[in-house]
Symmetry: D3
Amino acid sequence: MVDVSGKPSTAREAVARGHIAFTPDALRQVRGGGLKKGDPFETARLAGIMAVKHTAALIPLCHPLPISHADVRITPASDGYDIEARVRTTASTGVEMEALTAVSVAALTVYDMVKAIDKGMVIGEIRLIEKTGGKSGPWKRSR
Amino acid sequence: MVDVSGKPSTAREAVARGHIAFTPDALRQVRGGGLKKGDPFETARLAGIMAVKHTAALIPLCHPLPISHADVRITPASDGYDIEARVRTTASTGVEMEALTAVSVAALTVYDMVKAIDKGMVIGEIRLIEKTGGKSGPWKRSR
Amino acid sequence: MVDVSGKPSTAREAVARGHIAFTPDALRQVRGGGLKKGDPFETARLAGIMAVKHTAALIPLCHPLPISHADVRITPASDGYDIEARVRTTASTGVEMEALTAVSVAALTVYDMVKAIDKGMVIGEIRLIEKTGGKSGPWKRSR
Amino acid sequence: MVDVSGKPSTAREAVARGHIAFTPDALRQVRGGGLKKGDPFETARLAGIMAVKHTAALIPLCHPLPISHADVRITPASDGYDIEARVRTTASTGVEMEALTAVSVAALTVYDMVKAIDKGMVIGEIRLIEKTGGKSGPWKRSR
Amino acid sequence: MVDVSGKPSTAREAVARGHIAFTPDALRQVRGGGLKKGDPFETARLAGIMAVKHTAALIPLCHPLPISHADVRITPASDGYDIEARVRTTASTGVEMEALTAVSVAALTVYDMVKAIDKGMVIGEIRLIEKTGGKSGPWKRSR
Amino acid sequence: MVDVSGKPSTAREAVARGHIAFTPDALRQVRGGGLKKGDPFETARLAGIMAVKHTAALIPLCHPLPISHADVRITPASDGYDIEARVRTTASTGVEMEALTAVSVAALTVYDMVKAIDKGMVIGEIRLIEKTGGKSGPWKRSR
């Protein structure tokens, strides 16, 4: 989505995913639309993309990296929503913390937008799916 | 821990919890000490407390609140660590987003400190336990 | 939109407006939809609301205020879009800088979202419409 | 003004301009000196330069860029002041948002410094004058 | 300088001071004017005032306070410059960290503005002079 | 400590030092342990490392740099503690402001952690020890 530069050969990428579980009643209300605060998923998507820029301010030993791409997708799941973030950098370092932070903040924003109708939501399964780049090389979650 | 003012009668409080699951091998290495980056749990505890101050910068529709107390505790669990945040405000509004953000950022910081030995950690069960204050009144997770 | 507390009698409010002028061709493309970066006006609306929180970081002699409400509306005009921001505080001080900053940042965000198809947009008429509160008392733009 | 590196051949530059209109009475008072808050134009110049660093925090889909030069000039005009910002980067991307943000924040700061004597000021004509670099190549405002 | 509200009876205040020592040659050049980066002391004064707003972002266990006044004065001393910061809050808590941070950042900014002609400057004697308010009550440096 | 990339030949480095003087009584209490707020030196070390990332937000004419390493060491001295910061960048510019800011913020954080038992601490001798890189070339403090 944010494609600042187009250096495909040196780009490092990380993909992270997470989940937010609703109660059935909250799911019905949210899917029926009409939340007072506006579309929770468009707001959460933007908050997740912006969170990439906040990663170094949140994680003490992270330093800011030149980000060339950041995207967040939120898709319906049976009991709530799945969140996926994909982040790329032109630096020779991994961006897994940026992707995990994007997922976490997108999930927190969904919670904030929906909490007037359901405070029991549970955020979980925040995990790295795969990464390339960095000193430790590529990594992919098995199964 | 951070007890800025001492107005007990008007204080609003929120408690949130979360979990980070390690692989057995990573758990053994972390519990044996010797991580190169320093004590991950003291760093994560501080990052969680500081995250309370970043909540309004991360969540689009949150505004900054006067925080009178913020604490984060990280305790060993069978397959990883449990994280609990407790936040109080003197404002007449809820601080559940601050507590949930503190838990999330503490978990992300544990991940960052340990990721050199294990990238498969999973952050989960981030949820509100109880809150007082705000327009919606007190709330407590059942069971 | 963001109604943190409900103290009507002490609330101070400021309303500011501005405008962004497009070329006719850009207007046609934007109104026809299909911008690659997503809905520019929902993103700009959120950026304007969030800018209220950044005001003290941008304007050297502004200090952070407790904001109880912030809203931004973007409506079509003949040659572009009108932007209006409404901000309320519970502090005994004016919030005109917050409202003017919200309008400015919403306009800059529209520019950013549309600049791939038109770099000639002009942002203008950023002005205070009315305010209450603060040492200088109420103020209203004549006509 | 801030010449961090000296890579002339790869530098990308953007120039933006804007205007702030005063009432004749306010213009007389400001030009006569003696504002209580200090020199509004030196403060506004600095605020504009610093705003370049805040651009990515304000505009949701902007990412931070390595800035090699940022300057803001404020010059008297018949009914107020003209503001010009010039920003350079060593990255292969445009910096028009940084230049437009610098102009906007410098104008808002002039407003803040002068608002005790005039709340009717109008900020306008914020526009890109020219740019080089970025995927879209050079651009220059006609006439 | 920044007098946001006028509640004299509840105001808490802190005063801090510090010093920056120059080499005689650097002192002669700076006092003779003509630094390329502009007036170092006006820039440093503003940076010190703005640093009050950054205190909670810098000091892990500080939380943001409602600041009602912040001022920084830089005055010539025999071998350099003295810096004094005065900060007031309407909260029932001390603002000594805000005053000490203002002095530190003003001194660092003087260093930054002058370092092209002298890298040997030494910042020192950063100390609290007096404070009122907070749980620990008033405090005044003896002699 | 934070070794993001491993480009030894182009790395620029700066080393700064400072000092915080305690009263003998405070020194005895701190060295005896048992401060309520936790380990002041681990917190201050982290605050110093994080301050590197805040440098450009604090110093008006500094722009953010790509930091490849940042470390802070706090060691006991006869009347207090010595603080040393070491910062490296991959950019072709000096990082002396980042190192001096890290020392200053680490010292302020020690003050904040210990101020409940001693408000008379004095921060001093903040100075550059040596640097490489930047337009002005290498520099080393004599004696």
